[in-house]
C-alpha cells in the first residue's frame, strides 16, 4: 500500500467514524438476540426490516453504501481496506444486519459478476438504497446438497420463460422483493449443462410463499411454489443452459459469508447472530467458579478465536491467490462444526435447566431448544458434508466421488422413492 492510499484510508476512517457516531444508534444486543431466537412477531419483524431499509438509505446518502462497488452502479469505488475500516468504525453500532446476506452477497455479488450493464444499473443502486431486497431461490425440497440437481423448470415461450417448481430454505422470502433463481432449461443433457439463472420478482402471480416453522419456533425460512410464473428473457442472468457457471460462483460467494468485501457489518464485538454466551449462562447458573464449567468457557473462547482468525486467513488467501476460491469451504466447515460445539457447550452449562426452565433461569432458559437446532449451522448454506467434499476434491485434489449423474441426460438420473415427498408438502 502506498503512502497516498494509506492517508486516504485514514481520512476515510475519520469521516466514517464521525458519521456513524452522529447518525447511528448503539447496538441493542437484547433486541438482536430476541430477533435471532425468533421471538419477534410478524409485525415486529416487518418493522425491523423497514428500519434496516432506512439505515441502508442513510448510508447510501452519506456515501458509505457499496464501498467496494463501482460508482457506475451507485457504489463508492474504494478498496476492501476501506470497507474494513468502515466495519471497524461500525463496531458497537446498529447496522442493517438482515440485509447483508444474502441480499448483498451472494445476490448483488452474482449480479455484479454476471449481470448485463442494464441489469446492474437497474438493480444494484436499488439494492444499495434499500429499495430492493433480494434472496436466493437455490435449494429445492428434493435436492438436499445436490444444488445442480434442480427440478424447477423454465420453458421458453417467445420472449418469456415460464417457471414451475418449488424452492426452499430461502431466508426471509416473505419480506423480500426479488429472488435469484436457478432453474432447469434442458432435461436432455447432463445436469450441470441444462441450468439457467433468472431474476424473479417475488410479489408476482404464481409465486406462493410459505413460511417454514423450525424446531425452535423460528420462521425465518420459506418455501416457494412457482406455478406458471412468467419472466422476460431480459431478466435472465448469464447464458441459457450455462447457469452452472453462475451457480459455482454464487456458491463461492455464499461460502464467503460475512468475509465478502461487499458486506457492511461491525468488525469487532459479538457478532449480530451470536446467541447467548457461555459466560452468561454460567453466571446465571451460579457456576462461574466450577472448573468444569470454566473448561467449557475456555474451549468456547478458543473455538471462537480460532474460527475468526481462520476466516481472516482464508479470506486473505483467496484474495491474494494463495488459495483457490474453493478454499472458502475450509472456513465454512470449521465454522459449522465449531458453532455446533458452541451450542452444545451452553446446553451443557445449563445443566438440568436444559430440560425445563422459567424466566427466572436467565440466560440458562431456552438452551435446550437451542440445542435442538444445533445442526442448523452445519446444514444451512451448504452442508458441512458438501464442504468436506469441496475441500478434499477441489482444495486437496483428491479423486472426485463417483457420480452416476454426471454424464447422462438429467431426465435419466435415478431420483429415488422419496424425491418428491416434500415437493408439494
Amino acid at each position: 500500500m502506498t503512502a497516498d492510499t494509506a492517508e486516504d484510508l485514514d481520512r476515510f476512517r475519520q469521516r466514517a467514524g464521525a458519521w456513524i457516531r452522529s447518525n447511528l444508534r448503539p447496538l441493542d444486543h437484547a433486541a438482536l438476540a430476541a430477533a435471532t431466537a425468533g421471538e419477534l412477531d410478524e409485525e415486529e419483524e416487518l418493522a425491523a426490516i423497514q428500519h434496516e431499509r432506512q439505515l441502508m438509505r442513510m448510508m447510501f446518502d452519506a456515501g458509505f453504501a457499496g464501498i467496494t462497488i463501482s460508482p457506475e452502479y451507485g457504489g463508492q469505488g474504494l478498496t476492501p481496506a476501506h470497507q474494513q475500516a468502515f466495519n471497524e468504525e461500525l463496531s458497537g453500532f446498529e447496522h442493517p444486519s438482515r440485509l447483508m446476506v444474502p441480499n448483498l452477497s451472494p445476490c448483488a455479488a452474482v449480479l455484479l459478476d454476471f449481470g448485463t450493464e442494464e441489469q446492474k444499473k437497474t438493480h444494484i443502486p436499488a439494492i444499495l438504497k434499500g429499495e430492493e431486497l433480494w434472496m436466493q431461490l437455490l435449494s429445492e425440497p428434493s435436492g438436499g446438497s445436490d444444488v445442480a440437481g434442480a427440478l424447477t423448470t423454465a420453458v421458453r415461450d417467445g420472449d418469456e420463460w415460464v417457471l414451475n417448481g418449488s424452492k426452499i430454505w430461502t431466508t426471509g422470502a416473505w419480506w423480500s422483493d426479488w429472488g435469484l433463481c436457478l432453474a432447469r432449461t434442458n432435461w436432455d443433457v447432463p445436469k450441470h449443462r441444462g441450468l439457467t439463472v433468472f431474476m424473479l420478482p417475488l410479489h408476482r402471480d404464481g409465486v406462493d410463499v410459505h413460511r417454514i416453522e423450525m424446531i425452535n419456533g423460528s420462521k425465518e425460512f420459506c418455501q416457494e411454489f412457482l406455478t406458471d410464473v412468467r419472466v422476460p428473457d431480459t431478466d435472465r442472468i448469464g447464458e441459457v443452459d450455462k447457469g452452472w457457471t453462475v451457480g459455482t460462483r454464487w456458491m463461492f460467494h455464499e461460502r464467503m459469508l460475512y468475509n465478502s468485501p461487499l458486506i457492511t457489518m461491525p468488525a469487532f464485538g459479538r457478532p449480530a447472530t451470536s446467541s447467548v454466551s457461555p459466560v452468561e449462562v454460567a453466571r446465571d447458573r451460579g457456576r462461574l467458579d466450577d472448573p468444569l464449567v470454566r473448561d467449557l468457557i475456555g474451549e468456547a473462547a478458543m473455538l471462537d478465536l480460532v474460527g475468526s482468525r481462520l476466516q481472516q486467513r482464508i479470506a486473505q488467501g483467496v484474495r491474494t491467490g494463495h488459495l483457490s476460491d474453493q478454499g472458502a469451504a475450509i472456513a465454512r466447515l470449521f465454522g459449522g462444526v465449531a458453532g455446533a460445539r458452541a451450542r452444545t457447550i451452553t446446553f451443557q452449562i445449563a445443566g438440568e435447566a436444559g430440560a425445563a426452565w422459567s424466566q427466572h433461569d436467565g440466560a440458562a432458559a431456552g438452551r435446550g431448544t437451542d440445542f435442538l437446532m444445533r445442526q442448523a449451522g452445519c446444514i444451512g448454506g451448504g452442508t458441512t458434508e458438501m464442504a468436506r467434499n469441496v475441500v478434499s476434491e477441489r482444495v486437496l485434489g483428491m479423486p472426485r466421488e463417483r457420480s452416476v449423474d454426471r454424464d447422462v441426460p438429467f431426465r435419466e438420473v435415478p431420483r429415488g422413492p422419496s424425491s418428491d415427498a416434500r415437493s408439494r408438502a
Binding site: 435449494s139 425440497p141 435436492g143 438436499g144 446438497s145 445436490d146 440437481g149 426452499i168 417454514i212 416453522e213 423450525m214 424446531i215 419456533g217 425460512f221 447458573r285 451460579g286 468444569l292 455446533a340 446446553f347 451443557q348 445449563a350 445443566g351 438440568e352 435447566a353 436444559g354 430440560a355 425445563a356 426452565w357 422459567s358 427466572h360 432458559a365 431456552g366 435446550g368 431448544t369 440445542f371 435442538l372 437446532m373 444445533r374 445442526q375 442448523a376 452445519c378 446444514i379 444451512g380 452442508t383 458441512t384 458434508e385 468436506r388 466421488e401 457420480s403 452416476v404 449423474d405 438420473v413 435415478p414 431420483r415 429415488g416 422413492p417 422419496s418 424425491s419 416434500r422 408438502a425
Partner: protein, 377 residues
C-alpha cells in the same frame, strides 16, 4: 432392550407398543404439546389397566409383574414410551407406588396410583442438580410430632398436576420422605417450560409446610437407602426410555438414507455416511447393553448398580445426544423443521439427558466410585 424376552414379557411390550401407536400417534403428540397436562387422563387409566403402574408393587399390595422382575418389565414399557415419545408420568407413578408399597403406608393413595385415577410426583431433584456432588438441602424438621418442610425442588416431573408429592428432604444427618397432598398450604408451584412436547415439569417451593407425622414414608432420618434405590429405579426407567428414542431415531434415519437420493444415488451408498451409521450403530448397541446391565444390577440390588447406572447415564447423555444430532444432520434441512417428526424423539432424549444429572455429573459420581474401589484393592 434385552435381546431375549420371555413370552409374557414380549406380550406386555407388544400390547403397550400397539396401544401407544393407536392412542398417541405423532399427530396426537403435536396436539398434546399445547395441553396443560400433556396427556389425556383416560389414556393414563387405560395404560394402568395394561399394567403400567403396578410393576414395582408386590402382588399382596395390589401390584404384580409378568416375569417376577418388575423393574426389568418396566424397562420394556419405558423402551416403548421412548420409541413413541409417549406422554404420561411413567417414572414418577411407578417410583412413588413402589415406595409406598415397600413401606406399606398410604394404601388408599397406592390404590389410586395403581388404577391410574391419581398421579404422584417424585420430588427429589433440587436447583443446580444433586448428582454432581451438591448436597440435598430441603429441610424436614420434626416439631411436636408434626413435620415442617422448607426448601425447593426443581425440576419435578408432573408436579404441577399431581395429586400427591413424595418429597425427599434432610432431617439433620439423615434423609426423610413425606407424602404431601397438592394444595397443602405453603406449597408454591411454578410451571416450567420444557424442551419435551408432552412432559410437564414444575418448580416447587416449600415454606413452613406443616404435615402430620403419618405423612412420613419410612422412617424420619432413615430414608437414605430407599432414596438411593428410588433414584436408581428412576434412572433405569429413564435410560430404557432414552434407548427407545435412540432406536426409533436411528431406524427413521436409516430408512431415510436408503430412500433419499442425492447426485443420483441413495445417501446410504456414501461411504462417509455409512461409517457414521456404523458408529451410531455401536452407540445404540452400547446404550442398550449398559442400560440393561444397569437395570439388572439395580433389580438384583447388586453393589455395582451405582457404577453401572452412572456409566449408562453418562454414555446415553453424551453419545445418545450425538447420535440424535447425527440423525438431524443426515436429514438435512427438514431435520430442523417442526413439521418433521424427528425432533419429537430428540426432545425426549434431550430432556432425559439433562434430568437426574448430566453426563459430566455422572462422570464425577463414577470417578468417586472408581477411586474408592481402587483404594480398596
Amino acid at each position: 432392550m434385552l435381546l431375549e424376552l420371555t413370552p409374557d414379557q414380549d406380550f406386555l411390550r407388544e400390547t403397550t407398543s400397539k396401544f401407544l401407536a393407536s392412542q398417541v400417534p405423532v399427530g396426537e403428540i403435536r396436539r398434546l404439546c399445547d395441553d396443560r397436562l400433556g396427556y389425556d387422563p383416560g389414556y393414563w387409566k387405560r395404560g394402568a389397566d395394561l399394567g403400567w403402574t403396578s410393576l414395582l408393587v408386590s402382588e399382596e399390595r395390589g401390584g404384580g409383574s409378568v416375569s417376577g422382575r418388575g423393574l426389568i418389565d418396566l424397562t420394556l414399557l419405558a423402551h416403548e414410551f421412548g420409541a413413541h415419545a409417549a406422554p404420561g408420568p411413567l417414572a414418577p407413578a411407578n417410583v412413588v407406588a413402589g415406595a409406598l408399597a415397600e413401606f406399606g403406608t398410604h394404601p388408599d393413595v397406592l390404590a389410586a396410583l395403581l388404577d391410574g385415577s391419581a398421579v404422584a410426583a417424585w420430588c427429589w431433584e433440587e436447583p443446580g442438580g444433586l448428582i454432581g456432588g451438591r448436597e440435598l438441602e430441603l429441610d424436614i424438621t420434626v416439631e411436636r410430632g408434626d413435620l415442617v418442610l422448607n426448601g425447593r425442588k426443581k425440576p419435578v416431573e408432573a408436579a404441577a398436576d399431581a395429586d400427591h408429592l413424595l418429597v425427599t428432604g434432610r432431617s439433620g444427618g439423615g434423609l426423610t420422605q413425606v407424602l404431601v397432598a397438592t394444595g397443602t398450604p405453603g406449597v408454591t408451584v411454578e410451571r416450567l417450560q420444557s424442551v419435551d412436547m408432552t412432559r410437564r415439569y414444575a418448580a416447587l417451593r416449600f415454606d413452613d409446610v406443616r404435615l402430620p407425622g403419618e405423612s412420613v414414608v419410612g422412617e424420619v432420618g432413615g430414608a437414605g437407602p430407599a432414596v438411593e434405590r428410588q433414584l436408581h429405579q428412576a434412572l433405569v426407567i429413564q435410560l430404557a426410555e432414552t434407548v427407545g428414542t435412540l432406536d426409533r431415531a436411528f431406524a427413521m434415519t436409516l430408512e431415510w438414507a436408503f430412500d433419499r437420493y442425492s447426485f443420483g444415488r441413495p445417501l446410504a451408498s456414501y461411504q462417509e455416511l455409512k461409517h457414521r451409521f456404523a458408529d451410531m450403530k455401536s452407540w445404540v448397541e452400547g446404550a442398550h447393553a449398559i442400560a440393561d446391565a444397569a437395570a439388572d444390577a439395580v433389580d438384583e440390588g447388586r453393589p455395582e448398580a451405582a457404577a453401572l447406572v452412572s456409566a449408562a447415564k453418562a454414555f446415553s447423555g453424551r453419545y445418545g445426544l450425538e447420535l440424535m444430532q447425527d440423525c438431524v444432520q443426515m436429514h438435512g434441512g427438514i431435520g430442523v423443521t417442526f413439521e418433521h417428526d424427528l425432533h419429537l424423539f430428540m426432545r425426549r432424549a434431550t430432556a432425559n439427558a439433562a434430568i437426574f444429572g448430566t453426563a459430566a455429573d455422572h462422570h464425577q459420581r463414577l470417578a468417586r466410585i472408581t477411586i474408592e474401589e481402587d483404594s480398596r484393592s
